[in-house]
Symmetry: none
Subunit: 213 residues, 4 copies
């Protein structure tokens, strides 16, 4: 008759499990509506055990939303800093990478949470601004500016151009997060990346000369 222990010491494994469960629940319900009880349940421990690792709900939220996007951002920044590639290659690779990153629900719902709770958690918004969004935007702007200097890209505000590049991928991700569950037509982010690359590289309009030709 083996005794089934009520619990087992799992000090090192626990924080990860809790954060994973918390990410799920926060993503599903939002910060305020998320119940520690549900997080605890999904993490397979008791409500009180969460307090062994985090002093309160807010800190848990911070830990969950904190820096999780960093790895993805590193990859994208790395691509953009590959200075010797022609800009077209850079842009295509970057969009493809974004499509990939945004296809996984993790980063996507994280981004949605930042949008949702940023007002109530200014430090989290700031964390993401400083650590994620502003960094990505800066890397992209710099790459564009370099390409302009090389004569590959037309003149214009590089920061706004960077928004032109990223915007549709973000919109696609949010669409998947918000509209698809509400019955919206799904979007293939990879296809979007390809189509958007074509648009951004050469424009939508057929040139008059071409038409003329």
């Amino acid at each position: 008759m083996t005794t089934d222990p009520k619990w087992r010491r799992r000090k090192t494994a626990r924080p990860g499990e809790i954060e994973a469960a918390a990410l799920e629940v926060f993503a599903e319900r939002g910060f305020a509506a998320a119940k520690l009880e549900e997080i605890a349940e999904r993490a397979g421990l008791s409500k009180a055990a969460i307090y062994v690792y985090y002093p309160n709900k807010t800190e848990l939220f911070r830990a969950v939303v904190g820096a999780r996007a960093a790895p993805d951002i590193e990859t994208i920044a790395a691509i953009l800093e590959t200075a010797d590639l022609p800009f077209a290659e850079l842009a295509r690779a970057m969009l493809a990478r974004m499509a990939e990153a945004m296809s996984r629900p993790g980063l996507r719902s994280l981004a949605r949470m930042v949008i949702a709770e940023g007002r109530n958690f200014p430090e989290i918004a700031q964390l993401w601004h400083d650590g994620v969004v502003a960094r990505a935007l800066a890397a992209m702007s710099a790459a564009i500016a370099r390409a302009q200097a090389r004569g590959e890209v037309r003149p214009g505000n590089p920061r706004l151009m960077a928004l032109s590049l990223i915007g549709p991928m973000m919109l696609g991700a949010l669409w998947i997060e918000v509209m698809v569950p509400a019955g919206g037509e799904p979007i293939d982010l990879t296809a979007l990346a390809a189509e958007h690359f074509a648009t951004v590289a050469d424009g939508l309009l057929i040139k008059d000369e071409a038409r003329a030709a």
Copy 2:
């Protein structure tokens, strides 16, 4: 005995006042964290009075988030259905109109709220999908398809192209909503619209022929 001006206000004005206050509070705090007490305070009446007009918090939220975007959407759709304009004109006008609409905090925060609460309120996400986003997207896709038929726009998936058009404006709006309060550099949506139009119309890349020339 002079009549208290509070009581002269027509009864019919009340729902509008409540919804305005509610929009503010929901936008600032999110659905779950918004308190009816605060809404009532801002609307200048008592918590209980809200229940005269709305059966509960959720219905109030629905009323607030429900159809508010419709007028803006109508304008945009109207532009897009002006069939006889060259696509370039359409796109420029539409982007300018979006910049304008997103410059006012109302629509912007509404959009953010839909993103934030869509998961918890599928019907609201659906309402926005059906009444706002999908309609706008459809109108834009149709305009693109017509332009393709006229030979003004290169071949490609019109829906994805529409996302390329809208995405950056949405991103800009969310940036203003979420990142600027957290210390992010502001964005001029009008400038973004112009720059994005240029990008989308002719692309970022300088053509080899042009370079050669």
Copy 3:
């Protein structure tokens, strides 16, 4: 078929009822161990209703322990300030009044609570110090000093003499509060006041023979 209303508006009556119930429970259990639920029960309302009148447990405690002793103190101070009475009369009357005041459980348990919780609620200790104990002590010291000046009372530190006067009454009250419930022999405070007066009178008074001599 008369409906039995779940509750009735009692705005003005309520605070008093709540404080009475709270005094009981705080006195029985101490601050930390007192449950709002029990207070609510005894006051005949719901836990949440307490929060209509007091923002939290601590404030309720403050309200309960705050100034309740003031009336009794006024009486005692009034006696002591009757400057034209011989000191022996003053002392006898004051001790009798104290016996009376401490015979009612209200003030007695309040005093015990101040002793019990003073460390955890410094402001309450201070409130009692400033409003009750120090005032009484000062009034008594002043009366003694005046009596010394009149040659009725032997020389000596009036403040310490005042403690000699009050101490036994306080001890008697605490005995009733603490030891009697634990099986201690009861004490008749009135008898104690009389006996203590006799003890103290012949010790403080300069003997007639001595004065005569």
Copy 4:
């Protein structure tokens, strides 16, 4: 490999260390508000280790408050039972001893705790009643009765007279415990003992002239 000095401490020292820490914490916070964690910290061991020595918080409290006053009581009782001393000497010595005992914070805060928690822990109140207070009171009453029989002390209820003797010292001790931390003027217990002795001596003693007469 040097032995960690922590482990050299003899096991038997532990209960004492725990009780010392517990006394501190119970005195500072009261029973209910005292946290085992804080006691453990101050005792330099883990919360769980306390359970090796005491089955629960209540028992620890009992152990702490239980018999600690006994030595002091013994001294006082011994003085009082020195039957051959004149009562004036007895009283003076006893008051001086009380002043001394109450000048140390240990006994003083213990007394305060008994007053504070007596209601919630009747057995502790009883323990103190039987082992400390009633014993002291009985010894003192007996001494007074003997002095009355010897004609040194005026007639009257010896028990009430004993309260007259002890009361001011108790009040002084409580003042130091409760009011001084709240900004009250300090009291010199030794001076109080002297002054109170003077007050009480000339009041309790049958005057020489009277005896002579």
